[in-house]
């Protein structure tokens, strides 16, 4: 097979440059995080890790992710089903709308929530009157996390479902299947990898969001302090090793995410070959 750029020298040069640059720009920062975390030995690393407030931050962060993911999963599936399986006025607009979180800077995202649900906001005022606290409590963190992560699942599903078309679902209808049966037995198996991929991305962002959460969290230690906020707090507090320990934890979650994604892709590729 003859392809462009197949000459061994071209090949070697391009791969070499690509690998070198990737290592420099991507791998090195990762190494730096761990180097800093272990700078003062593993003992201090452990000590920092088992700090009461670090543990609380880990707990809160996971709690937020666990709440956010299913909600955006359901939303993403409904949205993808809607825009890929039906024609209706406003379909394109809807698709553009869900890109808003990409265009909005996270700090601004936090701000708009604060303005709305904060004590002086028009909904927040009413809520405050009824002693309901959204901002500076976990519901507020969930809300902004929902905002910043809402496009991920849908963005994975829409191109795939568009490419797959509605044929199999139509076939299922002609065979008398009900809506839920169609989804569970025909659609879901076809999109499950993309769905998982969307979940992984949502998770990564939900766990790592800083700007938006920082605005609405109130940073009450042990209560509304998420892991990324905790990194900042420790860092501000001259606890560099502690900060990088928490950062290393987040980096580990990131690495796990990447591994899971790569694993999924690999599986998908293998299934593709198998077909």
């Amino acid at each position: 097979m003859q392809r462009i750029g197949d000459k061994p020298t071209t090949r070697r040069w391009l791969i070499g440059t690509g690998v070198a640059l990737s290592l420099l720009f991507l791998l090195l920062p990762l190494v730096a995080i761990f180097a800093q975390a272990f700078a003062e030995g593993i003992g201090l690393f452990w000590e920092n890790l088992s700090d009461e407030y670090t543990l609380a931050a880990i707990g809160l962060t996971l709690f937020i992710a666990v709440l956010t993911i299913p909600i955006n999963l359901v939303f993403g599936v409904f949205l993808a089903w809607l825009v890929t399986r039906f024609e209706f006025p406003g379909r394109r607009l809807l698709q553009t709308l869900i890109d808003i979180p990409f265009a909005v800077s996270p700090v601004v995202a936090g701000l708009v929530y604060l303005l709305l649900y904060g004590r002086t906001g028009w909904i927040g005022g009413w809520l405050d009157g009824h002693d309901i606290q959204l901002m500076f409590a976990w519901p507020g963190i969930v809300l902004v996390t929902l905002f910043v992560t809402c496009p991920f699942v849908a963005r994975e599903l829409i191109p795939l479902m568009q490419a797959q078309g509605a044929r199999e679902e139509e076939a299922a209808v002609t065979l008398g299947a009900s809506g839920f049966t169609i989804f569970r037995r025909v659609t879901l198996p076809n999109i499950k990898w993309a769905l998982l991929y969307g979940v992984i991305l949502t998770n990564a962002r939900a766990v790592g969001e800083f700007g938006a959460v920082s605005v609405v969290s109130g940073s009450i230690r042990g209560e509304t302090n998420t892991l990324p906020l905790h990194v900042e707090l420790l860092y501000q507090d001259y606890n560099t090793v502690g900060a990088f320990t928490a950062a290393a934890l987040l980096a580990l979650i990131a690495l796990f995410t990447l591994a899971a994604k790569a694993g999924l892709e690999w599986r998908a590729a293998r299934r593709e070959e198998f077909r």
Binding site: L114, G118, R119, T120, G121, G124, D128, Q133, M135, F136, G218, S219, I220, R221, G222, E223, T224, L233, Y235, Q236, D237, Y238, T240
Partner: protein, 310 residues
């Protein structure tokens, strides 16, 4: 615990209150026979005030800027006469701005006019985003005002040079410290005296020297009860008790241990050699009050912006 108190504080006070809170809890237990718990929320002092405005239900605030409490007072969350409710303008401890220089003070920096030399690189946080930075700016201005007899033209010239020597403007005190210490940038770091001493302790007494200029500014650390919320939380007495505690000899000693200056005479004497005598200018005296300062100097297009224009 029977009751919970939330203290909203500035971001670098984490260790401080981590030390004070357990002592207070014991103290309260002794006095009132009630077990309580104190929660801490830390962030930039302005950000914390904003959060409270928007509904963060803190019972007390322990800030590093008077203006941030004023904002709460304006909104009616804090009593209007809050500065009268506790001694010393409701400021249980205070500090001033001081210099951290590298070992042996190679540039021979002793006072503010040493900072406008051409070859001096300064690091301090952005006055726009940091109270810490604002105090530094005001201290320099106050010094110049005194030395130049209030000739505004010349003061501005002085300040221009001063700002010109700034190498990096971080958003907060911590960022500036990192820049100076870990990234090895600049000849002098300007911050609260308390901070500067802490840093020296943290990063090596041998590598840095602290210089307290003969003239500087008085930085008050105001405290207040957020009455509206405390009342709602049924915590009025507890909140007041907490702040009262900060004035006890026991607490003042703890504060001094963190390099804050205090008014308790016994403690003052104990720590006398730690705090060099300095003349401390008051914002009210030099600038006429915080409102004037904010309007004239730090607002968009104000004097600070004018000075920094290239």
């Amino acid at each position: 615990a029977d009751r919970e108190l939330l203290n909203s504080s500035y971001d670098i006070a984490r260790e401080l209150f981590a030390t004070i809170n357990p002592e207070f809890i014991d103290w309260w237990q002794e006095q009132q026979d009630e077990s309580v718990d104190v929660k801490q929320s830390h962030g930039g002092s302005s950000k914390q005030a904003r959060a409270i405005l928007q509904g963060l239900k803190a019972d007390v605030v322990t800030f590093n800027q008077v203006t941030d409490v004023d904002v709460l007072a304006e909104a009616g969350l804090v009593a209007e006469d809050w500065q009268q409710q506790f001694p010393n303008n409701a400021s249980p401890y205070y500090s001033t701005t001081a210099f951290l220089v590298r070992e042996g003070n190679p540039n021979g920096i002793e006072s503010w006019d040493d900072l406008i030399e051409d070859d001096v690189e300064i690091v301090f946080p952005n006055p726009k985003t940091s109270g810490n930075g604002r105090y530094t700016y005001l201290a320099a201005w106050g010094y110049a005002d005194r030395e130049l007899d209030g000739d505004e033209e010349k003061i501005r010239e002085f300040m221009k040079q001063f700002l010109n020597n700034v190498k990096v403007f971080d958003t907060g005190g911590r960022g500036a410290t990192t820049t100076f210490v870990e990234r090895n940038i600049g000849d002098v770091l300007i911050s609260f005296e308390s901070e500067v001493n802490n840093i020296r302790k943290e990063y090596g007494e041998d590598d840095y020297d602290v210089v307290v200029p003969p003239v500087s500014i008085l930085a008050e650390f105001p405290v207040a009860v957020v009455e509206q919320y405390a009342e709602r939380n049924d915590n009025l007495d507890l909140a007041k008790g907490y702040l009262d505690y900060l004035y006890t000899e026991e607490a003042q000693r703890l504060l001094a241990g963190f390099n804050y200056r205090v008014n308790d005479e016994t403690v003052q004497q104990e720590f006398a050699d730690q705090f060099p005598k300095t003349e401390l200018l008051r914002v009210e005296d030099v600038f006429g009050g915080w409102n004037e300062v904010m309007d004239q100097h730090f607002a968009g297009g104000g004097i600070l912006d004018q000075l920094q224009r290239r």
